[in-house]
Subunit: 253 residues, 2 copies
Amino acid sequence: MKIISVVNQKGGVGKTTTSVSLAACLAELGHPTLLIDLDPQCNATSALGVERLEGKSLYPVLHGEAAPDDMIVPTAWDHLSLIPCERDLAGIEIEAASMDDRLYGVRKALDPMRSSERFRFAIIDCPPSVGTLMTQALVACDSVIIPLQCEYLAMEGFGSILQYIEQIKSATGLPLPIEGILMTMYDSRVKLSDQVISELRTHMGEAVYQTVIPRNVRLAEAPSHGKPINAYDSGSTGAAFYRSLAKEFMARN
Amino acid sequence: MKIISVVNQKGGVGKTTTSVSLAACLAELGHPTLLIDLDPQCNATSALGVERLEGKSLYPVLHGEAAPDDMIVPTAWDHLSLIPCERDLAGIEIEAASMDDRLYGVRKALDPMRSSERFRFAIIDCPPSVGTLMTQALVACDSVIIPLQCEYLAMEGFGSILQYIEQIKSATGLPLPIEGILMTMYDSRVKLSDQVISELRTHMGEAVYQTVIPRNVRLAEAPSHGKPINAYDSGSTGAAFYRSLAKEFMARN
Ligand SMILES: Nc1ncnc2c1ncn2[C@@H]1O[C@H](COP(=O)(O)OP(=O)(O)OP(=O)(O)O)[C@@H](O)[C@H]1O
Ligand SMILES: Nc1ncnc2c1ncn2[C@@H]1O[C@H](COP(=O)(O)OP(=O)(O)OP(=O)(O)O)[C@@H](O)[C@H]1O
Ligand SMILES: [Mg+2]
Ligand SMILES: [Mg+2]
């Protein structure tokens, strides 16, 4: 099982939308995929129409009270499973006392599953802001996807997420490669967008996915129906572009 | 000086855009206003075209190494001043060891200014995620503005920010009233929006501002020019709606 964390400390850039949509499109291609909701907002859990349940999250696993397998719930779609989230998970920010916990908690929690054949991929949706949960997701994963909104305030912080990843790499000795950089919410009316994208391709080259996700209202509507985009509106541009992302992702795996 | 914190743990809902635009429009009406950037992303600082400088933020004040007055910098606009941010501020999440620091650090740091006549209002821009910086801003302020995107995932978390404010009120005994709830990025094409707004007005009544900020690309472009919306494009709908918010805000103050 390959573990991929979807991170960006900037808020509202499409981390949850990308985690849920990519996981659903990989499952649609027949690859058994596990989505892990590591954001106490529990957005990925509700976007798949799953009820939040106390005790059903990585929280008890991080406290050594349960095995990760016990936290896996099925979803309404083939090949797609979920480890839900609960609000208590926010407590980890303060509870992870020792430095060891601060870094390796999630990695240790997921280790029992790493060699399992049950899932081909696990995708971790992360909260905004640099904190304990984002840090633990970076230490736990095999590679990182960075969704990046094509707007100025979002680009400003891009350097600092790359810097933070370098800090994690030197603190742990883990390789932590970039799986890909995904431009999201592209709106051709925002003058800056095209400039932002071409500058990024110059600096980051192949790391930037060819697929650029456009702004598409169906993506904003899908979570209220508790369905990923390919189930909510299979014919939408949102579904088409996330399917093309899944194909591009598979070409690299 | 009245201190107002702009908070919402959900990312990308317009906290920075609202803090900067409201502060600029209040200054335009002639009310001396101080914007305080408490988000290590430093988005409010760059949105006003101010350089990030090491040691120029609330960070040294929180460590007792400087007075808040020393951190105030002028901006290019009359009646508008700024306490900038620096990346080091993120360290507070881990450094604020004792419970006392975790709650009262920013309140103590700003106390010397509270009775000053220099500014009529101070507006604090907060980071996403429930963490030490957001908590300290809630404890430090006289009232709270909650920007709320008219989309499902943003509405989902609305209950938890209200709950968190109640927790702060009972932990500190502070009144912490809601200054107002601001609907942002309204897009009439997102089917859900109108339903979200009318439901909110039913539950929260007068707390919800009459002004609803529409999605307007000029607001997304303004930060790249280092100017607030009323300076970047005074004739835009973004400027018009934030001016009407400033008037509504003044009607309550
Ligand atoms: N391509 C898109 N087009 C239109 N709306 C989108 C798109 N991608 C995401 N959205 C909407 O924008 C909002 C922000 O997206 P999302 O919640 O996925 O971002 P996030 O980075 O996970 O936010 P947070 O930082 O709070 O975790 C949501 O309401 C979502 O439905
Ligand atoms: N009404 C609007 N219309 C169009 N774009 C907007 C509007 N308000 C904000 N934006 C843009 O949306 C993005 C998110 O807004 P902003 O950064 O203010 O949110 P935030 O809540 O401060 O984010 P964070 O959670 O990262 O602090 C920014 O690129 C901003 O320029
Ligand atoms: Mg999210
Ligand atoms: Mg912000």
